[in-house]
């Protein structure tokens, strides 16, 4: 399989057999407060800080918590352990090495990740691995209780449907209750 083929397969990770179980396990651990206690199985010791910093650059603390506060780096660890094959894991690992070389101060890190993100979504093969890191970061964060209730408007029982209300700067989007992922 060529590198290009392997990159294409990365987009299917959410369809992997284990993905629902991995997501479910992560959400349960968020709920019982053990999300950040997990021992990492994919990321090596020297990669842990990098991945935590990366997910927090993607989704930093704002009015809702940061991605790492919710334990999203641990979700990525589980996904990359359970849902990737060796070729795919190597792609991710090789990509992360780029980050390790380039870390300087926080502003530089943000600029660097922003650049890689842009290149990835422009279709640059070299950075395609970053897309799956970002997408799993979003999924892990926004499907957690924190993400659903603090980064979205979770209307468990709205009272009634009202068709037109003003949307202001502070209006949050309705949280997603039925997840349908298409990457």
């Amino acid at each position: 399989m060529t590198r290009r083929d392997i990159i294409k397969t990365l987009g299917m990770v959410s369809l992997h057999a284990m993905f629902p179980a991995v997501l479910s396990g992560f959400l349960a651990s968020c709920k019982n407060g053990t999300a950040n206690e997990k021992k990492l199985t994919f990321f090596h010791d020297d990669e842990q800080d990098v991945i935590k910093a990366t997910v927090d650059i993607i989704l930093p603390a704002t009015k809702s918590a940061s991605a790492s506060a919710v334990g999203v780096h641990n979700f990525l660890d589980d996904v990359f352990t359970a849902c990737l094959n060796d070729d795919q894991r190597k792609l991710i690992r090789d990509g992360l090495k780029v980050f390790t070389f380039q870390w300087k101060d926080q502003d530089d890190k943000i600029k660097f990740v922003t650049m890689i993100d842009r290149e990835a979504y422009d279709g640059k093969e070299e950075f395609a691995w970053f897309k799956i890191v970002k997408q799993c970061t979003l999924i892990g964060f926004f499907t957690s209780q924190e993400g659903t209730t603090r980064a979205g408007d979770y209307q468990k029982i709205p009272d009634k449907f009202i068709g037109e209300v003003p949307a202001t700067e502070n209006t949050l989007a309705h949280s997603v209750t039925a997840l349908r992922i298409s990457l």
């Binding site: 993905f19 930093p60 999924i139 659903t148 980064a151 068709g163 003003p166 949050l172 209750t177």
Partner: protein, 568 residues
């Protein structure tokens, strides 16, 4: 299997005034109507019990607590080979769908048969759109020389539409459009700003096309002991307010209140018992789906409401010496003229404007565009027509999955409502064709020893030509609305996918070409009534359940009056 012999008083204990087979949307109505008229009714359901409120497992579950965050993992999917293709299929709905592994069937041609075998049947999952047919819908077969003439016209069913609408509680507007006659409505759901914009722009550009709020069997105010909708759009989980109509929230509890209802779940009807001396149905043979024991029940009249293909399958399984091709089938029409609407085609669009408008709650109603083609004369290269079921909403965080962006500002942007998204899907009428049919497999059997159903249906040339116009109509309406982008779609889904399968035991005036008369009564057997979708002689393009329920109530009224006169 073990036969349970009925001896002594057993037959008496197993005898009722009426047996209703199937507890779905029409079986529930039949049970309610007949019990309220004083009959002792046995309601047989092949699946498990689902009691309103008590058995709605996920009704109030938070999304992060749903198993697998509502995804069905692959190890569970192998039981749902067909059902998994349903748009609704997820953890929170699959328990109201069959396991295909337990209930196989044979697709002679591709056919998606979505089923719910539990008390309430698919009335727990239906989309709840309710539009009346109009006169032309009933006349078209005769005018165009297609199929068999309907033995009724709009005026015959109009009072029963009203009867059902008032009972079930339909929210909607009286829009004054003859192609979808006005009914008895509760206040309509709100439109949002995009709906109103589309309504205005479409009317300006296409004066004969009207976008209206969906007419829904979902309450907008408390009604008949059920509470109004609270805007969750999670009807398919079972609603704690009882706002969406189902047999579970409505007809079965109301039937039970009369004291005349006996409900027996886990009861597969293997065949009807035909008394050839009296030329009547004496009762039913059932197999208990859990124990596989067989037993018999008896009644003066039988209402067959096992869903379109379920009812026809029972009649085919009940063949006798007098009816070698299936009970009540002297016409040869039983099993034939299977139809389903065709849909999965239309256009979608996006719009970055109206940023300052949002909505509270999630609306379970669509906005609808009634049929506007071939209404007064046939001026298209196809017959009949189509309507549109449309949805509008604003984007959520998932738009971030496929766009560049990182950081605080981008995250906060994702937490806000995104662009408007518009979805227009057309639903078209399908013509009746003899060769679209079902039959019993001569060899294959299910785990209860009953033959599998062979299904053979294909859409035809009329449907194909109509689809070109369906797509083009959607595109031109969305372009008229001057949105940011418009793109068409055609999922090319096979028959069955719309879940409006109808026909195979059609009504008609002539016993030589139809199974049922104008009262849904079998031409051949006067105490047998079939009032679910199998009775339909054509499909129109409107969602059919309202028409099924109206026919059911009408047939119940007729049957009981006949019984009172000792003519049944």
């Amino acid at each position: 299997m073990t036969d349970i012999n009925i001896t002594g008083k057993g037959k008496e204990q197993n005898t009722f005034d009426a047996i209703v087979i199937g507890s779905g949307i029409t079986g529930g109505i039949a049970a309610k109507e007949l019990t309220e008229k004083g009959l002792k009714v046995l309601l047989l359901e092949r699946g498990r019990m689902v009691e309103h409120l008590k058995d709605y497992k996920y009704a109030t579950t938070d999304p992060w607590d749903l198993p697998y965050r509502n995804i069905v993992p692959p190890e569970q999917l192998h039981d749902y080979d067909v059902q998994k293709k349903l748009y609704l299929f997820a953890q929170d709905s699959k328990d109201f769908l069959v396991k295909d592994s337990d209930h196989p069937y044979v697709q002679e041609k591709p056919f998606q048969w979505f089923r719910g075998y539990q008390v309430g049947g698919r009335s727990l999952l239906w989309s709840k759109h309710c539009y009346r047919w109009h006169e032309r819908d009933f006349e078209s077969n005769k005018l165009e020389g297609i199929g068999t003439d309907w033995p009724i016209r709009y005026n015959d069913i109009a009072p029963w539409y009203s009867h059902i609408e008032k009972y079930v509680g339909i929210s909607g507007n009286r829009d004054g459009l003859p192609q979808v006659p006005d009914g008895e409505y509760l206040p309509p759901f709100d439109m949002n700003i995009m709906d109103k914009h589309l309504q205005k722009r479409i009317k300006e550009q296409f004066p004969e096309r009207d976008l209206i709020i969906g007419r829904m069997a979902i309450l907008t105010e408390d009604h008949n002991g059920r509470q109004r909708c609270h805007g969750r759009n999670l009807c398919h989980r079972g609603c704690i307010f009882g706002a969406p109509y189902s047999s579970n929230s409505g007809a079965i509890p109301d039937a039970a209140k009369t004291g005349n209802l006996t409900l027996r779940p886990f009861s597969i009807v293997a065949s009807l018992i035909y008394d050839r001396d009296k030329r009547k149905i004496a009762g039913v043979n059932i197999i208990d789906s859990e124990t596989k024991e067989t037993t018999q029940y008896f009644a003066r009249i039988v209402f067959l409401n096992a869903s379109t293909l379920g009812s026809t399958q029972i009649l085919l399984q009940s063949k006798t010496e007098d009816f070698p091709e299936g009970l009540a089938n002297s016409s040869g029409a039983l099993g034939h003229y299977l139809m389903d609407h065709h849909a999965g085609i239309g256009a979608m669009a996006g719009y970055s404007g109206f940023k300052n408008s949002y909505y509270i709650g999630e609306r379970p109603a669509s906005v609808y565009i009634p049929r506007f083609v071939n209404l007064h004369k046939n001026d298209k290269n196809y017959l009949r027509g189509f309507g549109f079921e449309n949805y509008t909403s604003r984007g959520d965080w998932t738009r971030g999955l496929n766009q560049a962006g990182v950081g605080a500002e981008w995250k906060e942007e994702l937490t806000k409502p995104g662009d408007w998204f518009v979805y227009f899907e057309a639903y078209g009428e399908t013509l009746p064709v003899y060769d679209n049919k079902v039959s019993l497999d001569p060899v294959k059997k299910d785990k209860w020893g009953l033959p599998l159903l062979n299904i053979s249906m294909a859409y035809g040339e009329n449907e194909r030509k109509m689809r070109e116009d369906m797509k083009q109509s959607a595109i031109e309406m969305l372009e008229a609305a001057k949105l940011d982008w418009v793109t068409s779609f055609d999922y090319d889904a096979p028959p069955g996918s719309v879940i409006h399968e109808m026909g195979t035991a059609r009504m008609g005036n002539d016993p030589k070409t139809s199974v049922l008369n104008k009262w849904n009564q079998a031409h051949d057997i006067d105490n047998l009534f079939v009032t679910d979708g199998s009775c339909m002689a054509s499909t129109a393009c409107q969602n059919p359940s309202l028409t099924y329920m109206a026919l059911t109530a009408r047939a119940c009224d007729y049957a009981v009056k006949k019984m009172e006169k000792k003519e049944l």
